[in-house]
Symmetry: C2
Subunit: 295 residues, 2 copies
């Protein structure tokens, strides 16, 4: 299949590589940053604009930083929309606003094309190993048509609902991850200030109802004081903004998400925009004037 892949950064580059190795022809847009050599060396076509890439392809995949970039690549002059014709499919694998996603989809569908939102979790390593979780919002028919592409890039591939539901699921994921990190931080900080060894507390809690991937990985980070990302607070904060925005527009109250966002704010105010998100523990330590373990 001819695939326009727009956004070959940390995540998109290895994802596009999996599609290429599966025999698909990639159409890339190199007007911003130089294109990865290994993709060009395997017969990827370099296009002058998103429009040109969309014209040449059956399917357009986006993997971009945030909502404004997706809007711009789709609808600016020489954008994807100008290159689409009926029957093509746009797949947005970026993590962006569920609400804007539905607006983008309406405009794309008006051109006779399908729109699929399919954000991922699993990070750089998941992208490299082709083990991403992919959360899909799409019609049943569009999902079945593009599922083989997802199977080259990920493992746990779930259609969670209609258009927008993939982004909503990703937002739910980011809420649960942030609040579970915050939960582990409150538990370990209290235990530590009360004189228990936080490493032993973590060990005692693994295997019981408090056990989670977060207690295992981010709990260890807090104890080892390893706040190198990982996943940066500034990015997770962007995701919690999406959560709180969606919550407001839907009439839902998310009290602990709001507090977690404020703790991320406190980290950013203290130079921590690029700390790993497990450093939300440091915001609690500021409030407590004490630490889980000194830096």
């Amino acid at each position: 299949m001819d695939i326009a892949f727009i956004g070959v950064g940390t995540m998109g580059r290895p994802m596009a590589g999996h599609l290429q190795r599966a025999g698909h022809r990639l159409h890339l847009v190199g007007h911003r940053t130089p294109l990865p050599d290994e993709l060009l060396a395997n017969a990827a076509v370099e296009c002058a604009s998103p429009r040109a890439a969309a014209q040449a392809a059956d399917c357009v995949i986006l993997m971009l930083p945030d909502t404004p970039q997706v809007g711009s690549v789709l609808f600016d002059e020489d954008g994807v929309a100008e290159g689409l014709s009926a029957g093509k499919t746009v797949i947005d694998m970026s993590s962006i606003s569920p609400i804007e996603t539905r607006r983008f989809a309406e405009r794309i569908e008006a051109l006779g094309c399908d729109y699929v939102d399919a954000p991922v979790s699993g990070g750089e390593i998941g992208a490299q190993q082709g083990t991403l979780s992919i959360m899909v919002g799409a019609s049943e028919a569009a999902f079945e048509r593009v599922r083989p592409l997802f199977e080259e890039m990920g493992q746990n591939i779930t259609r969670v609902g209609e258009i927008g539901a993939g982004q909503t699921c990703k937002v739910a994921n980011q809420i649960i991850v942030a609040l579970t990190i915050e939960a582990v931080a409150e538990g370990l900080l209290l235990a530590s200030k009360a004189g228990a060894d936080p490493a032993k507390v973590r060990e005692a809690l693994m295997g019981g109802f408090a056990s989670s991937k977060i207690l295992e990985v981010h709990g260890a980070r807090m104890i080892e004081r390893n706040f190198e990302p990982g996943f940066r607070i500034e990015l997770h904060s962007k995701d919690l903004n999406l959560a709180l925005e969606s919550a407001r527009s839907l009439g839902v109250s998310l009290p602990n998400t709001a507090t977690a966002q404020e703790l991320f704010n406190a980290c950013m105010a203290n130079g921590g925009a690029r700390w790993d998100h497990s450093a939300i523990a440091k915001a609690l330590e500021m409030l407590a004037a004490g630490s889980i373990r000194p830096d």
Copy 2:
């Protein structure tokens, strides 16, 4: 060994049974509720008071509802303290205040005895199957001496620090469990109100960084609207009180624990004291005037 086991209710009864089957002689106090037949049938000795049981035993195990009951059994007239003599060990397996625990321990140690706090997690099923997690606060020497008893009742047995550290660890466990439940509730409620299928969201999130025992078990409860306990909100609320009390006395701020406690309060104000703790989702639903899925 001769063991005084005080508190043979839902948890204590099967725990005492494991010790009995391992060949220990139990000394029970039957002044409040009738003693379990299966324990008496296997040569458990019925004593007239905690004092009498402590006199007859090498080691006293308590498995009681809360701090006041432990204080009363230990120090009231005809209590355990009156029956102790130097060299005996008191093991409190109840979940009670870490601060009061240290006060109780001082008084017991003044009698020449050891004090061990060893609360458990794993619930009724863990107690029956002998698979409890046991979180121990004790001197190294006292821990090693009583460890064989713990091995009859549990699997994941960790000494997390000195006296009081076991209770502190249990408090940390209860914080992390409550806040992870609350995290799952915020994520699933938002997803559901945004039109995604919460069951599919849960499925998509299992295996990734959002995955936890809580997402698996309590997430399913929220989706199935199964709020039969399980673990009752009134009990978890008691544990969060211990957390917030300890936090205040230690100079730690636990913002999300405080909010979770308020959500438990809201449940109790709406007749939910005996709902399962996963029903914290119902408090969020009240705030949102909507539900993850209608009852």
